[in-house]
């Protein structure tokens, strides 16, 4: 059996683990769709003057795609690998002949499949219910933002396992990071309505460039293929930082046993 087929077996198993975990399924795949419907339902689908008069739903769809991707990659990997580490599963897997990259590939592949699926559902719901235009000309920019975002937040999630001491601490430790970032990065509140100082801080962190790159691809006024150059560059830098940190900080043994 080749390593490629091993990776497929790992992906198949990790997809099953994800589908059978009700909490992961709800927070990653269902909640973003619920959020989209509720936000448009509560705040209305008005034209936003801060965004040159485009409809609120055209801002919310990329916002919640961003939330879904961060949930499927950063949150899911940080919590999933912490659980595997603390229960001793990772230590045990390391004693098998399977190459390490396959263990990561299964989870990262699951995050990518989930992100693509939720993106498709959000675009469908947004298009059918709220008339959000599905990007065609700017599709390359959308795909680039999705791929780079998923990769970056997977790397950051794996690195972040170092900060989480136990399986129980997983949900609070990850939400303590992502919830404030969602609020200051234009996920729940249109970014340009935030105070300037908060905007400046958010622009240095990875969630805002990601959501903004997605929004650019959905914005009907965008010209060209929809690549948001500055945003993608910032994401790539965060991705590189995440990768280095993940390689340096990741641990295979439970916290109590490391050493």
């Amino acid at each position: 059996m080749s390593d490629l087929r091993r990776a497929l077996a790992q992906l198949t198993a990790d997809m099953k683990i994800f589908r059978r975990n009700p909490a992961a399924l709800f927070f990653t795949a269902i909640l973003p769709v619920v959020f989209l419907c509720m936000f448009v339902g509560i705040f209305g689908n008005n034209r936003l003057k801060q965004y040159g008069g485009i409809h609120a739903s055209t801002v919310y769809v990329p916002s919640f795609i961003g939330l879904a991707v961060v949930g499927a990659s950063f949150v899911a990997l940080a919590m999933g690998f912490t659980r595997m580490r603390e229960s001793g599963m990772l230590k045990r897997v390391r004693a098998t002949p399977v190459p390490s990259w396959i263990v990561f590939a299964g989870r990262i592949g699951t995050a990518i499949v989930t992100a693509i699926f939720v993106t498709a559902v959000l675009m469908l719901v947004g298009g059918v219910l709220f008339g959000v235009r599905i990007p065609t000309r700017t599709l390359p920019g959308l795909l680039a933002a999705l791929a780079l975002g998923a990769a970056t937040f997977c790397a950051l999630g794996i690195a972040y396992t170092r900060a989480i001491g136990s399986e129980e601490a997983g949900p609070s430790m990850t939400n303590a990071v992502v919830l404030p970032l969602y609020f200051i990065s234009g996920v729940f509140v249109p970014f340009r309505t935030l105070p300037d100082g908060l905007q400046s801080v958010a622009k240095l962190l990875p969630v805002q460039p990601f959501v903004d790159a997605l929004r650019v691809a959905f914005d009907p006024r965008t010209t060209g293929a929809g690549f948001a150059g500055d945003d993608l560059l910032k994401l790539a830098i965060w991705g590189a930082v995440g990768l280095v940190l993940a390689i340096r900080l990741f641990s295979w043994t439970p916290r109590q046993q490391s050493g």
Binding site: Q10, A13, K16, S87, M89, R92, A95, P97, V98, P99
Partner: protein, 323 residues
């Protein structure tokens, strides 16, 4: 000796954590195809030694070969020949028993058939149940199945029956004894001395980082001689009238003597009693159990010379290192 004869060779192993020396010059050989039990109290250096053998920890000094390879440099081929049951569980609760074994089979170059492994672990009726719904004993059996799925030559079992009820323990023992029939070498760590006595071809007891006794479980004895003979001392007869040369003590109203020549001692004793028409009530002849030996060895005060150690009938000398 050659790697062909020994699955594990350890010579002068040392491991320090800062100023604390957990393993202090431990030497040991495990033959291919035997079940070897590694016993000792918590903190004696057992886990450290096993984790060095498994490749999880680096040693401070000494030589170690596992299947002819230094575990610090074990590659994929080496890992595919080793199966491990750790104290922690290995499986994702969301997958079924069969799905878990199917995934792990993919990790190995030449896995054992999945259905056969399910049967070997005794999990036929639970094959399609999720791991999260298995009992503790069933999870442990799945861990044993995962250790065997790669069809390894050597299996490390770290306290494989902790928390089992007596029936589950018997079932697990059958699985472990079955490994010997498959030609596997088993390195068993356990706190249950009856488990070692039942399963092991040879045992070693480790204390304070060195091995204090080693040999087949039935051959070990510590300190006070060999076979124990008990009986109720006949009324009206002084103990020194009895025709035995061994010293006799009285314990709980019964005479007790230790003898290294039980046939000779019993013949003299029984002939003497029969000739006088005396019935030696509650006469018992017993070998000290592994538990007796273990307790005597590990409760000896630290720093004292370990008690005299019987040499195993195979002629293997037990190893002791001066501290």
């Amino acid at each position: 000796m050659s790697a062909a004869e020994h699955a594990i060779e350890i010579d002068g192993l040392r491991k320090s954590y800062g100023s604390f020396e957990a393993v202090r010059g431990l030497s040991l050989n495990v033959k291919r195809g035997e079940i070897f039990a590694f016993l000792g109290p918590n903190g004696a250096g057992k886990t450290t030694t096993v984790e060095i053998l498994e490749g999880f920890r680096k040693r401070t000094a000494g030589e170690v070969r596992v299947l002819g390879v230094d575990p610090e440099h074990g590659d994929r081929a080496w890992r595919s020949r080793i199966g491990i049951v750790l104290q922690e569980g290995s499986a994702q609760p969301e997958l079924t028993v069969r799905e878990t074994l199917t995934l792990w089979a993919a990790y190995y170059p030449e896995p054992r058939p999945i259905e056969e492994t399910i049967a070997l672990a005794g999990l036929e009726e639970k094959a399609d149940d999720r791991v999260g719904r298995l009992s503790g004993g069933q999870k442990r059996r799945l861990d044993v199945g995962l250790a065997l799925i790669g069809d390894p030559d050597l299996v490390f079992l770290d306290e494989p029956t902790t928390g089992f009820d007596p029936v589950a323990r018997r079932a697990a023992w059958k699985v472990i004894a079955g490994l010997r029939d498959l030609g596997k070498t088993v390195f068993l760590t356990t706190h249950y001395l009856d488990e070692a006595q039942e399963l092991a071809d040879r045992v070693a007891i480790v204390k304070a980082g060195v091995i204090v006794v080693e040999g087949p479980p039935g051959s070990l004895s510590a300190g006070s001689g060999d076979t124990q003979v008990h009986f109720v001392a006949p009324a009206g007869i002084a103990l020194d009238e009895l025709p035995v040369s061994e010293p006799i003590t009285v314990v709980d109203g019964r005479a007790l003597l230790h003898t290294t020549t039980p046939t000779h001692t019993l013949a003299a004793l029984c002939g003497w009693a029969d000739g006088r028409g005396i019935e030696l009530e509650r006469l018992e002849v017993a070998r000290p159990s592994l538990e007796d030996v273990y307790l005597e060895l590990v409760t000896a005060p630290d720093g004292s010379q370990p008690p005299t150690v019987a040499v195993a009938p195979t002629g293997r000398r037990s190893r002791r290192s001066a501290r």
